[in-house]
Structures are given as structure tokens and as C-alpha cells.
């Protein structure tokens, strides 16, 4: 599984990355978590409001920090 957290580095983006990492650790799944701060890459996903989370190329959430339960639901199915 390939998870990308998109955000230039505002506090909420860091929070989103933390939530995702915690969820991955809790679920015990094999996943790479990467923080993307490059605007060009963000645009390729069509993301305009940050933070955003992309799972295997699919944008799951934009403009808000997902809850840990949400992330768990995406990765444990």
C-alpha cells in the first residue's frame, strides 16, 4: 500500500501525517507513508486545499485532517 500525505507544512498537514502513521502502525499493515510538499505533485492529484491524503493513487480526503478511524477503515479492508 502506498500512502501519500500532501501538504506544504502547515500544522494541520503535520497532524494528518501523524494520524496516518499511527493508523498504519495500529493496523499493522505493510504500507509506505510519504509526505509530499511539492506543489507540482499536489497539482497532479488536483488537490487545492491541504492537507490531503492519497491512497494508492486515489485521493481520499482533502482540506481536513482525517480521523484515525477513517484511515483505519481505508487500509484494513
Amino acid at each position: 500500500m502506498d500512502i501519500k500525505v500532501l501538504g506544504p507544512g502547515c500544522p494541520k498537514c503535520k497532524e494528518a501525517e501523524k494520524v496516518v502513521r499511527e493508523a498504519v502502525a495500529a493496523a499493522g499493515v505493510e504500507a509506505s507513508v510519504e509526505k509530499i510538499t511539492d506543489f507540482q505533485q499536489m497539482m497532479q492529484y488536483g488537490v487545492m486545499s491541504t492537507p490531503a491524503v492519497v491512497l494508492d493513487g486515489v485521493v481520499k480526503v482533502v482540506g481536513r485532517v482525517p480521523s484515525k478511524a477513517e484511515v483505519l477503515a481505508w487500509i484494513t479492508r
Binding site: G7, P8, G9, C10, C13, F39, Q40, M42, M43, Q44, Y45, G46, V47, M48, S49, T50, A52, V59, K60, V61, V62, G63, R64, A73
Partner: protein
Amino acid sequence: MKSQCCARPRIASPARGLSLVEWGIGFLALLVWGLVYFRLQGFAAWLTVSVFGLDPASRLGSAVEFFLYDTPKVLLLLALVVFGVGVVRSFFTPERTRRLLAGRREAVGNVLAAGLGTVTPFCSCSAVPLFLGFVTAGVPLGVTFSFLISAPMVNEIAVVLLYGLLGWKVAALYVGTGLTVAIAAGWVIGRLRLESHVEDWVRAIRTGEGPAEEERTFRQRVFYGLDAVRDILGKVWIYVVAGIAVGAGIHGYVPEGVLAGIMGKGAWWSVPAAVAIGIPMYSNAAGIVPVVQALLEKGAALGTVLAFMMSVIALSLPEVVILRKVLKPRLIAVFVAVVGLGILLVGYLFNALL
């Protein structure tokens, strides 16, 4: 947009509306809010006189009473309005705003963009992705600027503070002139044909399709509003307290009329000076309005302080640094100059009219 999946049944479909208990809690919260809000003045006076033993006519006493009354009042107003605006905002995602603006002509586009700027969720850290998303989707440059100018300047925090501390007339004046500056400045920037002064890599960008929109339920919107309250009050309360503390100090200790000479109507140079000082400074509305109120009280002219407030909120050094990533220096200079000039005119206009 509907969600694309259907094969998989939804896991534990969440409630769409609010339960009776939740409605009850909401109603009760509103009742408590009202009871507290309308008794604040008496409570602040009682605290100052009976608990702290201060004379409300003394300098320290009047500063303390001012602080004790204004701080909770502004925070309470903010909580209520931020919640309401939060619910409204859940209807205006940046994606939807972009769709509304894409391919719009100038003029109509500028007006629409300035209006949408006030309700679309915006934080300075997403200014760049928003700019990219707008421009690459075919929103004209000038229209994009109208949005970028109005979004930080005309927002609920500024309106609540102005209303709470200076009354609805000043709040309405600020909103009206703020929108006008955003519309006019964006239009002028559009007319100047500066598209080539956007960084080259921006124009080479290919945007992805963008995420499928989440359909929100009423319940989610209410919780979105509550989140906004927690989020914004958590960020802003320190500015409110600091701003009101400075304002209270001025209120209690600076003699009446002392500012009339330097910030009054008679001093023609005070408006450009206020704008020049305000542009590099950054504070959000919460920190600046209490200071503005105190300055007014001591004889500063309304146009001068409004111009100061607008330039502090609308333009700042950090914002320029962020925008430099996507704009060439010339376009940034034009942006700052056009907006600064607009604010200057607002300042003079009010000093002349009122």
C-alpha cells in the same frame, strides 16, 4: 458527485441528521450562551469594583473593566459566528468555487470571486495550491487575485470583532470597502495582462482530475461547524486576549484626543503612513481590531485606522514570500502596489466623508 462504489455495502451507515438529545444539547448551549452574553457588562463591573476593589473611573480600573468585559464578549461572539459560518462553509469547497469561477469573464468573475472569497475555507498555507488550482483550471488571473485578496481580508473574524467592538456600521463599511478593493484590484491586475509574469513552471503544470467530492450530511455539516469553532478559537484566542490587553492599556492610560494630531483627519500624510507601516506587518483581524478601537477612541480618524487594519490583514511579508513561489517579482510588486493603492483610497474616502 455520487460516490462510484456500489458493490460493497456501506459499513454501519452513519446517522444523517441529529438525534433528539443532540438537538437538546444544542438548544441548551444556545440558552447558556445568551444568558452569559447579556450579563457580561454587569459581571465585569462587579468583578472590577467588588472583587478587585478598583475605582472604575481610575486609569487602572477602566483598563481592567474594559479588558474583563471585551475579552469574553468577543470570544462568545466569535464562537457563535464561527459555528454558523463553518456550517455555511461546508457548502463551499475550493473545488466547487473553482468550478463556479472557471471560464468566467472578467468583471462578473471579479465580483463573484470576491464574494466567494469570504465564504470559501481559506488559510494562508493553502494560498499557493489554491492559486495553482484556479489558474490551471482556466480562472482568469485577475479573477484569481480578487479571490486571494478578499479571502483573508473579509472574513467572519474581522466582521465579528468590528461588530462587537465598533458596531454594525463600521463592520458593514469594512465589508463593503474590502470587497470593493478586492474586486477593483483584481480587475486592474487582469487588465494589465501580466500572465507572463506567473512563474514558468506553473503554466507547464498539468492538473489531475481532482478528488470526487464528498457528499456531506446535515450532521456532518454541524460537526464541521463545531470543528471550525475549536480550530479557529484555539488559534485566535491568544490574539484576541493580546489585542484587547493592548487596547485596554490605551483605553486606560492614553489621554483623550492625543492622537488627533498625528492620526486625525487634519494630518493628510497619516493615511499613506498607516498603509506603509501596515503592509509588511502581519496580524489577523482578532489582534488588530481591539487596537483599532482604542485608537479611534483617542482621536484617530476612521479612514486612517481602517486603512491601517486592511493593510495589516490583506498584505504581509510572509504572504509575499509564499506567493513568490508562483509569481515573478514584477507581478508581486504590481499586486502589492495595486492593493495598497486601493486601501489608500479607502482611507482618504472615509476621512473625507465622515
